[in-house]
């Protein structure tokens, strides 16, 4: 397998790289020239010039451009090798998609239950040993996990691009806030109600718009999200932009968790003395919800209904030809996704104790969508990792304080360019079936991938391209 450019003299190749890097760096400096060198003094209406930032920019761009070209070519080279293999008469079936990852290895082995148990145990212990801040972040991350998994059903599994997902999240949150405020209903009553309201709204919106395809669905859902936010801003009952405060946290059989129970926990379990025990309860509620969601999504994905969704995502025409009622499949996916948003919304409202319409902005929908896409569309562990990364990453980037959103945006672009399938690409369930002489497991993807590793010598099987 030869790299096309390595057939040239290496010296000339390096020179070409340097030239390209210089060119890129020159271009970026030209682009940045007015915005980064001219500074306006707003009080005196004067403008001053300082080129001190340019040399640094030029240097950084030079290095980045060379790296960029290197990685881009590597990516292209991977694409080539697949074609080369094919042209050499090797069956393409050998170069297969899902390579074994640590995830599939662990989950496929007999350690899967012990590993899961340890993970679960760790998650269960976490709130008792960590400070309030961390519990808070974990609750938030788990809310996003559950939102991500819900949206994953709509976008990742069913291929319906929903850009107004946050509307259903808001429905859930406001259901609890309003019912709690005006009727005094508690969390546990509102949890199913919030889900119900969100589902009904999903159906209500779904009926007229579901026949829209692809991007149009995206646009209508986007508008719906904006309308929801605007209506919430303008209604009196929701107190407009001031929002609703003093939303009660979830109750636990009417017990006062911050009373003797807290004293007990602090004294005996080493719980942080500043901990609000209600937060621990919220943590377990959302953890439970996430586990339930994972089970549900996993079961759905490998069921008649879930396969119908996947078929719909892959090819709408062919899916109908297989006897799938497209409209019904779409509606179920859409409404079911909304259900999770509603559930997450109720938990969110009880967690934050204050909500207002600005929380449910378009950017929030985008955040949730980014979780799904960055994590890996259609992949449950991918979405979980995506949520953790997107919630935790900005926190970790705080060291760069004012640059963190800049870096965040750049990372999103880089991620899509170099790993469009997401962090963890979805792997399909391997079905084993005992038939005379044919045994399943080792004939599965893992074995094939191992073979190809030996074949192309690169040690890195070709990845499947992103899902469309």
């Amino acid at each position: 397998m030869t790299n096309p450019s390595s057939s040239q003299k290496p010296g000339r190749a390096i020179l070409a790289e340097i030239k390209a890097g210089l060119l890129a760096s020159l271009w970026i400096c030209l682009l940045a020239f007015p915005l980064m060198t001219l500074e306006i003094n707003p009080s005196s209406h004067t403008i001053s010039f300082s080129a001190s930032r340019l040399p640094f920019l030029a240097g950084a761009t030079f290095v980045l451009a060379i790296l960029w070209r290197f990685f881009l070519r590597r990516r292209a080279f991977q694409g080539v090798s697949k074609a080369v293999l094919k042209s050499e008469g090797l069956p393409e079936g050998l170069i297969k998609g899902p390579k074994p990852t640590w995830l599939t290895v662990v989950m496929g082995s007999r350690f899967r239950y012990p590993v899961l148990a340890i993970l679960l145990g760790f998650m269960a212990l976490l709130p008792f040993v960590s400070p309030p801040y961390l519990v808070n972040v974990m609750v938030k991350a788990l809310i996003y996990v559950s939102l991500g998994l819900g949206l994953n059903v709509v976008v990742g599994v069913s291929g319906l691009l929903n850009l107004g997902y946050v509307a259903f999240y808001a429905m859930g949150a406001y259901t609890y806030a309003l019912l709690g405020q005006y009727l005094g209903l508690g969390f546990w009553v509102c949890l199913p109600l919030g889900a119900l309201v969100a589902t009904l709204m999903g159906l209500l919106l779904g009926f007229p718009v579901i026949r829209l395809s692809g991007d149009y669905l995206a646009i209508v859902t986007l508008s719906f999200g904006e309308i929801t936010r605007l209506v919430l801003t303008n209604l009196d009952i929701t107190r407009g932009p001031r929002g609703i405060s003093n939303i009660r946290p979830a109750g636990f059989f009417g017990l006062d968790l911050n009373g003797p129970i807290k004293d007990f926990l602090v004294a005996n379990l080493g719980v942080d003395k500043d901990m609000d025990i209600n937060k621990i309860l919220t943590y377990f509620i959302i953890l439970g919800l996430v586990i339930l969601t994972i089970i549900c999504v996993f079961r759905l994905e490998n069921s008649r209904l879930g396969r119908a969704w996947l078929a719909m995502r892959e090819d709408e025409v062919a899916c109908q030809a297989m006897g799938i009622n497209k409209t019904r499949a779409k509606l179920t996916a859409f409404a079911l996704g909304s259900t999770w948003a509603g559930l997450a919304g109720v938990v969110f409202a009880s967690h934050l104790s204050f909500i207002n319409p600005t929380i449910f902005s378009f950017m929030e929908s985008i955040m949730i969508l980014s979780i799904v896409v960055l994590g890996g569309m259609g992949s449950i562990p991918g979405v979980i990792l995506g949520a953790l990364v997107l919630i935790v990453l900005p926190e970790q980037l705080r060291a760069f304080s004012q640059y963190r959103m800049l870096i965040f945006g750049a990372l999103m672009v880089l991620m899509m360019v170099f790993r469009p399938g997401g962090l963890i690409q979805s792997a399909r369930e391997v079905y084993l079936h005992k038939l005379g002489g044919q045994d399943g497991p080792q004939g599965g993807p893992a074995g094939g991938a191992a073979r190809i590793e030996a074949l192309n010598g690169a040690g890195r099987p070709v990845e499947g391209d992103g899902r469309g």
């Binding site: 069956p91 393409e92 079936g93 170069i95 297969k96 998609g97 899902p98 549900c296 079961r299 759905l300 069921s303 008649r304 209904l305 879930g306 396969r307 119908a308 996947l310 078929a311 892959e314 090819d315 025409v317 062919a318 899916c319 109908q320 030809a321 297989m322 006897g323 799938i324 009622n325 497209k326 179920t332 079911l336 399909r428 369930e429 391997v430 079905y431 079936h433 038939l435 044919q438 399943g440 004939g443 599965g444 993807p445 094939g448 499947g464 899902r467």
Partner: protein, 273 residues
């Protein structure tokens, strides 16, 4: 193989029509893509529809499978031992449920799903589990799922795809993709199988194994086949009756030998080139 259809045989005789169109017409804007097409697919036979490029063959398929709604005319299915069913105006999925299954000229597999899953999706219309079944996995659902997987595996074994059951469909060689598409259509337990240019893009060897496949399908499954094809030798060797269509009109019909000699057919084909 489990067959959920009512027992055939009493009322159906080989050669009786199982699918029939009467005066089928399709107009796009002002353009008549199909004009009064009358066609019959005989029970348990292989019927072929041929014609030059752009003559309206695929449009015909799209009309009877519900992707297009025909402008005029009737499409009727005669299930053995059951009352006739008018298919015109029904949704594609309902038509599949009644027993029409098709493949596509440009292969339309579910690329990012495994071979087995592709076939399982074909079982969709013969399964019942809904949302609750999926979420709670009750006994009936589990049994149904087991049976569906079993059935699909049997199909894959029968048609020689079982060793790739867990591969992604897009990673299959081209010929196997064609084969898988046919197997997927068979999984819906069709009464009539519609094949849209199955030999397109296949080399000579693959075409010959396709011929065997088509014949063996007709023998193995109780299914009638309607074939659209360009490859004349394939059509002539497998089909009992051939319809020829040009500019949306039927210009000839009959057994292969007649068609081979029909001047109108020769003109339609040669005149084009």
């Amino acid at each position: 193989m489990a067959d959920l259809r009512p027992a055939a045989g009493q009322a159906g005789h080989a050669g009786d029509p199982v699918l029939q169109t009467r005066g089928l017409s399709m107009v796009f804007g002002g353009l008549e893509a199909l004009n009064n097409v009358d066609l019959e697919v005989g029970r348990d036979t292989i019927t072929a529809l041929i014609g030059p490029n752009g003559s309206g063959k695929t449009t015909f398929f799209n009309c009877i499978t519900g992707i297009y709604r025909p402008t005029r005319g009737q499409v009727t299915l005669f299930p053995a031992g059951l009352p006739a069913i008018g298919l015109k105006g029904l949704a594609p999925d309902v038509i599949t449920h009644h027993g029409l299954a098709r493949t596509f000229q440009n292969i339309r597999l579910f690329n990012n799903l495994t071979v087995l899953e592709n076939v399982l999706i074909g079982r969709h219309t013969r399964m019942k589990a809904g949302l609750w079944g999926a979420l709670f996995r009750d006994r009936a659902t589990r049994r149904e799922e087991r049976e569906a997987i079993g059935h699909s595996f049997e199909l894959l074994v029968s048609y020689g795809l079982d060793h790739m059951a867990n591969e992604l469909a897009k990673n299959l060689p081209y010929g196997d993709q064609r084969r898988l598409e046919i197997v997927r259509a068979l999984a819906t337990e069709p009464r009539v199988l519609l094949l849209d240019e199955p030999a397109a893009g296949l080399n000579i060897g693959e075409t010959s194994s396709l011929r065997d496949l088509i014949t063996s399908i007709r023998e193995r499954e109780r299914v009638s086949i309607l074939l659209i094809e360009h490859d004349m030798s394939l059509v002539m060797s497998v089909s009992r009756k051939i319809y020829v269509i040009d500019y949306g009109r039927l210009i000839a019909q009959g057994p292969p030998d007649e068609i081979r000699r029909d001047p109108k057919v020769i003109k339609a084909y040669l005149g084009e080139e």
